[in-house]
Symmetry: C2
Subunit: 189 residues, 2 copies
């Protein structure tokens, strides 16, 4: 029994499945990303997906386990955090397809929406708590930040509205930076 947790013989297959799943979920959304298509991309049999991840929901859960890596931002000077957040998320979106998949599936299914709610609650809220001045306003301000960040992701990476795709990295930081800065630290309007 090769029970050794590190280095199972099937690890290559497992990660191939996850990679293919991320690509398909990002490109096609939850319903159209079929297990058969994912298995074909990973060059294995559909039944292997079921064996390793139980069912389609389990596969999705495993494929979009995401860490935003936000805590690193809380050490920054408070008055330049807006542009820093914009840059950080640009890196995340362009680095891999997990977040695109997440938005696509979140818009398509209740389970996906709940997963995004969880990420918001457990990863964005705590950081906002350490940046915002008024503790009572933290949820509202974090929600505004999320709306602008997810909105850019939606128009640029999911809907692919041409002018949103054509925005350069510098333009995005220059425009969104002050917006996020205001949502996080400006006095209540």
């Amino acid at each position: 029994m090769t029970d050794n947790p590190r280095g199972r013989r099937s690890d290559a297959t497992r990660t191939a499945i996850l990679e293919a799943a991320r690509e398909r979920f990002a490109a096609d959304g939850y319903d159209r990303a079929t297990i058969r298509a994912i298995a074909r991309d990973a060059d294995i049999d559909p039944s292997m997906v079921m064996r390793y991840y139980g069912n389609k929901e389990g596969l999705f859960a495993a494929a979009v386990a995401v860490d935003l890596g936000l805590p690193g931002l809380s050490g920054l000077p408070r008055d330049t955090v807006g542009p820093a957040v914009a840059e950080h998320f640009l890196d995340l979106w362009e680095g891999n397809e997990v977040l695109t998949a997440l938005v696509r599936v979140g818009a398509a299914s209740q389970a996906g929406a709940e997963r995004i709610q969880g990420i918001f609650r457990e990863q964005l809220l705590p950081v906002a708590r350490r940046i915002c001045p008024d503790p009572e306003q933290v949820p509202a301000r974090a929600a505004l930040v999320a709306s602008q960040l997810l909105g850019l992701a939606l128009t640029r990476y999911v809907l692919r509205i041409p002018p949103a795709v054509d925005l350069t990295r510098e333009e995005i930081v220059a425009w969104l930076g002050p917006t996020l800065q205001r949502y996080l630290t400006a006095p209540n309007p």
Copy 2:
């Protein structure tokens, strides 16, 4: 032959189908909103949907024919257009489910995404052209406006992130108004 364009005997059925379709598309997205479920909601047979709208794509196209009613905004004073846009879109989102359905389906399928691109191009861009100072910057600025508006819709009406749902109308106008104003009329940063 009751060829009379106004007042066909089947008009009640047709609109019942469209209403049910909008609800289902908004609640479930394109793939999970089945023709059978829509027909059940409208209390008719699935085959009627096919007869009246050809196929599922045709039904979707008919269900989300949307007019943003933006031209009315171009007569406003240029320095208060931001909050006015925010209020206008709040009315639209809360008035009916067409836009929610549109975002859900846009995120799920290529056809839906193209439809949103079309609305952006034909309804948002022309109005932005009459508000923005620099004609060359119009597409980028309109894309930024769309990102914030669609982002709020996504977090509030589709993902239903609790703090985004809890925002009051006044809070939204007070926070988004200046953002949209800046995207539309502020000098290039």
